[in-house]
Symmetry: D2
Subunit: 280 residues, 4 copies
């Protein structure tokens, strides 16, 4: 994006929006390379992601000019910060964290891991090998409120753009989620058909599923609800033990979460209601 301008807009839908936006961009002597838009018709909302060749001379001026031609209440973002800051929350499982940190180390994550917080301490050694701060914030012997207050205070100095729940096994309260609205990404196992409740892999094994899946989503009020960002599956068969299924599940969790992070930090994902628009 070194010599490009990225524009993100959402607003009430109206006739001629694309023309108004394209005219404004042309007046700034920027050439549109790709433009992806989506109209959520039931919600009457318009979303667009525009990539232009050339750097805007004045981002604020361009944003202002765009706002002036759009319906009232439009959100216009010109060149959002590219180097996002991620805080990663974990419990005990390492598979997602490992992938994220290696990408961070080799600068292929497209974002910076500013810290890792674990409600257990066992991923400290791995994290610290990469000179990333690790904080152990235990949930034990605390109310949810006290635990989450401690999380918020630990996170605050890092000013993360996004929280990544990389197999963080605590359910977050709506109060916590409200601190990072639309900015918490979670990875969740998923099954065809789905199994709710304790030990989903055991249930999936007992039913003899032939696919194991994973879903990355934004966290809203419930841990496992919220707008879906990415999903994928891996085939399994009758010879898989519960342990084998867990292992297959980890592989797919890891790759789905990494894909979701990449989409989000490239500003390709927009939340509309309980869905996402993903301009891949």
């Amino acid at each position: 994006m070194t010599n490009q301008t990225l524009i993100l807009i959402q607003c009430r839908d109206a006739v001629g929006l694309v023309a108004r936006i394209a005219n404004t961009v042309a007046n700034h002597r920027l050439n549109i390379v790709t433009m992806r838009e989506y109209v959520d018709e039931p919600a009457n909302r318009f979303y667009v992601r525009v990539v232009c060749a050339g750097k805007a001379e004045d981002n604020a001026q361009l944003a202002g000019d765009l706002t002036s031609v759009l319906p009232a209440g439009a959100t216009v973002t010109v060149n959002p910060p590219q180097q996002k800051r991620l805080a990663v929350l974990v419990t005990k499982e390492h598979h997602c964290l490992g992938d994220i940190i290696v990408r961070h180390f080799f600068s292929t994550l497209g974002a910076e891991v500013c810290c890792v917080i674990g409600n257990y301490d066992n991923l400290r050694a791995f994290t610290e090998r990469f000179d990333i701060p690790f904080h152990h914030v235990s949930h034990e012997g605390k109310s949810k409120e006290a635990f989450e207050t401690e999380l918020v205070e630990t996170l605050a100095p890092y000013q993360p753009d996004y929280l990544v729940l990389a197999k963080f096994m605590r359910i977050l309260s709506p109060a916590f989620v409200a601190v990072y609205p639309g900015r918490i990404i979670n990875i969740h196992h998923s099954f065809l058909p789905a199994f709710i409740g304790a030990n989903p892999y055991k249930q999936a094994h007992n039913r003899g599923v032939k696919l194991i899946g994973a879903t990355a989503h934004f966290v809203t009020n419930d841990l496992d609800e919220g707008p879906i960002i990415a999903q994928d599956i891996k085939p399994v068969n009758h010879s898989y033990t519960v342990k084998d299924m867990v292992r297959a599940g980890k592989e797919v969790e890891k790759s789905v979460l990494s894909k979701a992070i990449a989409l989000v930090i490239e500003d390709r994902v927009i939340i509309t209601g309980n869905r996402t628009v993903v301009f891949e």
Copy 2:
């Protein structure tokens, strides 16, 4: 399978079963080409599918000799009928039926479609183009019991080996299912995560799923439960309307059902509890 012998066995697990079976087969001067076995440890059940080069001189004698070396209660099948007879039950949707009948016509189904029964009449013209009997058995104005009795009576003269519910939208009672135990194959949409209740595609759209799936399974007591035979998915995205999702779903339903039928009629699928063993 023209010059081969297929042996299917299930019995209580015990030490030395493979040796006893292999010895018996060798005594009949048959050479094992492939042998696939599975032990369901919690259930203490042993399952094996053996393909031998050469035709057994006497199927009954071989089956008897095998039975004599196995634990009491073993089920031994030598060279099950290869040309299975399928009855297909439909409602209004044609996508699964079309695929099955074309395969039947070109003799690539590996089975014979002996009849099609619809609770609506609209797939008659297509079916009859292929000289396959079509019966319209309406459910309207009848009790479920009366409807199912009519189904059973319509099916009886065809003596089908399997019933294929190719988008048959009536829920069958346990009494009906008991007439064809382990011999009814259904195709069911599936989602990640799953949506239960009315209009699942609408629900899936509202949640913004990124995958649409399908599950083929044996029917036990519930229409959408029972041991899973095959599953697959197709990727979708935010630009799919509900109608587009339905269309994508039909493609995957069609291919998953065809795959499940192929596996079943080649005697590769064994039911163990609420799971299947699939010797692909």
Copy 3:
């Protein structure tokens, strides 16, 4: 598309094209629903597919107004014919033809199969069951030139929009291809890694590939070259015989060709050089 306007444009790239197009569309009081564009930078070509809510009052007027704001030499198409006419060319294999014709019969193909031409006669019975004309144009005892002349003459009265080579095993000359430029769709087996020459499935088996693929593409001068429209694969393993691999290959050929046909007849595919842009 009943109450929509579809606009397809390709032209030399220039600054402000999106603005000019969007303004023109807005002047016709049409609201853009989706707009997908692509710039082939090395070729300096601009491609766009616009769907508007509402029917243009005058297609020719809209096309003219668009042309007047675009660089010289632009190609502008407003509301191309929706019910394309397909001629299907076959040899002996039925799997792709069967799928196409069933979709035609149930009006889910999105196009009309106007005729089937076989260089063998064995798919006549199937085709004629659906009241579709079948022509046997044998290649035997004829020069390629004579054979192709006969094909052209047989096709002419049907005025097909596209020819679909549904496992048509004759190589077409550049002279024939020039009669239907960018309008011939072929399906080709593909392998990882690829095998060229006689009996590719035998070669693939000998090498022990773990995937079998298929590629649908436009035909240019060579049968197996030309811009790729769609590709897919199926996993296989060591237990697959050559025959099993052929069978798996047919499944994937069938689904890839159907997907490619759907994309083309919905005017979602644009040829640029030896590539396609697919606005899925």
Copy 4:
């Protein structure tokens, strides 16, 4: 495998092999849990992988007893070493190495990375963070023979069971390969259709492929030939730049190589001619 016995056999095919093996195993009071065999008919070779419940009292005695009932020249392995030692060879790209080392660190690789050798030095820092020896063996200013001699000498003290070429971009001579026969695993990009020669991703982009693949294989005499262990693909589209395709390719290379390593170190892969048998 803590309380199991693993038996690997390959020999000339003959009637009754399964019976002889199963009898011998039963005589040692071991119960067969899974038995997977494959007959390469053209080569007249028999391969079997047997997992038994229970530890053999005397591995050598069991191997000897098995050998005595098999055709001359049989290879019998009882309980091969479980903790394989891997030497990883790299050039500059980190994506495969990163995945392997993280798995090593968390003990989920199923093997030990004994050393990493790079013909460039730039992956040293990453490797040494995990306390794994890194050797820089440059190819520059040396004959291939001298370079490979240095490799062999560097590797020798580690006594690796397998060499993993994790994007090692030097072509190895037959003389080098002969030092580790059937023990060198390579990862290779693959395309549908394939592109040979310089800059394959550029070629693939120019052709507009819709899939990017990767192939893990044993190295025989050519770098990119040899029996295939695992393959997979990722979908791409026209909007992918060459750089995007390279990035997608790295993801699939990483996961395919990890899968291949897992299969090999669990003794699930057998080489037969230029193919593999994979008992998944």
